[in-house]
């Protein structure tokens, strides 16, 4: 179990929890950040932050502090040579 800000490019993960509360939690859920949803890093940024994630067929950019609010379970890689 880790948080979304630590997901490396190329890894896939499943969302497990949301730490955000109130309006921000609502907004994240509207965008598809819901436990059970699969997610991966879509692209970085010339300046490092924010990063964009692919989920439910769409792409959403989040700043690091928000990605930290999202709990994930990293999936084992499809070619099982090493596990992050």
């Amino acid at each position: 179990m880790t948080t979304l800000d630590r997901l490396s490019p190329g890894q896939r993960a499943t969302i497990t929890s949301l730490a955000a509360q109130g309006a921000e939690r609502r907004r994240l859920m509207d965008l598809g950040f819901i436990p059970g949803v699969e997610i991966e890093v879509e692209m970085g940024n010339p300046l490092g932050d924010p990063r964009a994630f692919r989920l439910l067929g769409g792409v959403v950019a989040l700043r690091r502090e928000q990605a930290r609010e999202i709990g994930i379970q990293v999936q084992p890689e499809e070619t099982p040579t090493h596990v992050a």
Binding site: L31, N45, G58, R63, Q66
Partner: protein, 478 residues
């Protein structure tokens, strides 16, 4: 005791159930919505060919937002858009100018003579109102008809959210909202529209920062001033083949300086007057869409070009009238314009500009579009020039010249490279036009913030121009 209202009972039940299920309930509901909609979608939506599109999108995105190429590509696109605008607008602009001024104005005068209209009336209406509108039409229509479709095309492709994505870190450092990158881009079309677009920012603190800094986005009305100065003073120094590249480079540089001021002023505001928590940022990056060229042309010509142009013409008419009046009403042997120019002269000199430019900026408060024609007209009427040049226009008549003649007139009026560079700086850093000021008041309902939005850029303009003038003089460049 009255029996409890059924609504009250319902709320009580809800509260007790909420205690029982906890905050989990909402999450469970969302999860089950998602499951159900995924089930429906998988049965009803076919996705042939989507994989290939997806991987192409991803490749393009990774290049446009990459560490090495992200910013250079942004600059290159910006440069390309301005270069196409500058290079492409030249010919249609001079065609429109010769149609409305060389061909149209004399015929209108002939018509006025035929109707035996008094000279003051035909002068006021034709040389004042009509020529001001004709100038705005010929100077603004061609660049806008090129710039807006190009910009709309980028918007349509889905590139602008990527720019906001690339720039977000800088805005975050400045304590500003990520969406400010988007409202800033709206400002490149029109600052009044940019100010209205700040409604997308929820936090009042960050919205005010976006409003107060929107004027650092160079609007439509100011591009012609920058393009003309860039072309006749800066581009002209470069070898002939490179001049339009260098000219568009100087416009891009001014634009980047505007972004630097946006970030710096945002940073200062978010640490002083408008201190507070930075709010969160999430931005959907829509997939790239093939641009619908015809629709883009239609919407950018109708919705943007014509509306902005219409506003400019409505504003130019009274301004043209005012210029004609102050150029033709004489007090104590000199026109009002001449008195004002000499009164503003010392301040203008301090700022590396001159009295004519400052007066033009006062006349042009309703619309930045008419800065350059006002400057040319006032230079010809209110300053003493060689007779050969002074003979080109009667007092208070807005004129259109070829670029080379403009350069000749301005140089004769005492202009140097410093004047041109400082005019570009002052075009970036001065008070918003009256429409924008009014919009800021409508959006904030606060005299204080409206005054701040007006005076901050103006004060910066005075300071920056005075410093560059002092430095240039100290180093003996002028």
């Amino acid at each position: 005791m009255a029996s409890p209202h059924p609504g009250t009972q319902l709320l009580q039940t809800a509260a007790s159930l909420r205690g029982e299920f906890g905050a989990e309930l909402n999450d469970r509901l969302m999860e089950s919505y998602l499951e159900e909609s995924a089930r429906i979608a998988s049965g009803a939506v076919s996705r042939t060919g989507q994989r290939a599109r997806l991987s192409l999108d991803r490749t393009v995105d990774r290049i446009l937002t990459s560490r090495t190429l992200g910013f250079p590509l942004m600059l290159l696109l910006l440069w390309g858009v301005f270069w196409l605008t500058i290079a492409g607008a030249n010919v249609p602009s001079s065609m429109l100018a010769s149609l409305t001024m060389d061909w149209g104005a004399p015929r209108l005068h002939a018509l006025a003579d035929l109707l035996q209209a008094p000279a003051w009336l035909s002068g006021f209406l034709i040389d004042g109102v009509y020529l001001a509108m004709a100038w705005v039409l010929s100077v603004m229509l061609p660049p806008m008809a090129i710039f807006f479709p190009l910009f709309t095309l980028l918007e349509d492709l889905g590139y602008l959210p990527r720019v906001a994505f690339n720039l977000d870190r800088l805005f975050q450092r400045a304590g500003a909202h990520g969406k400010q990158a988007l409202t800033m881009m709206m400002g490149y079309g029109c600052n009044a529209a940019g100010v209205v677009s700040t409604r997308i920012i929820d936090s009042p603190r960050e919205r005010l920062i976006a409003i107060l800094t929107n004027n650092f986005s160079i609007c439509n009305g100011r591009w012609p001033t920058l393009i003309l100065m860039g072309t006749i003073f800066i581009g002209a120094m470069a070898p002939a083949g490179l001049s339009s590249v260098i000219a568009s480079g100087s416009v891009v540089a001014t634009c980047l300086l505007g972004i630097a001021f946006t970030l710096a002023v945002s940073a200062v505001l978010s640490r002083t007057w408008l201190r507070g928590e930075a709010s969160t940022f999430s931005l959907e990056l829509p997939p790239y869409r093939p641009p619908r060229v015809l629709q883009t042309l239609y919407t950018s010509v109708i919705d943007r070009t014509l509306i902005v142009l219409g506003r400019a013409m409505v504003m130019a008419a009274p301004a043209g009238a005012v210029i004609w009046l102050i150029g033709n009403i004489h007090i104590g042997g000199a026109s009002i314009a001449a008195h004002l120019v000499s009164a503003l002269g010392p301040l203008g000199w301090l700022m590396g500009l001159n009295g004519v430019i400052l007066l033009a900026y006062i006349v042009a408060i309703p619309a930045n579009e008419i800065i350059v024609p006002s400057i040319l007209m006032l230079t010809l009427t209110a300053t003493s020039l060689e007779p050969s040049l002074a003979g080109m226009a009667s007092p208070g008549v807005m004129v259109e010249f070829e670029d080379a003649t403009v350069h000749q007139v301005l140089t004769a009026g005492g202009w140097t490279m410093l004047t041109a560079v400082n005019l570009m700086l002052f075009a970036l850093l001065h008070n918003p036009c009256s429409t924008t000021i009014l919009t800021i008041w409508k959006e904030t309902k606060s005299l204080r913030w409206t005054a701040a939005a007006t005076l901050i850029p103006l004060a910066l303009g005075f300071a920056v121009c005075t410093v560059t003038a002092a430095v240039a003089r100290a180093l003996g460049w002028v």
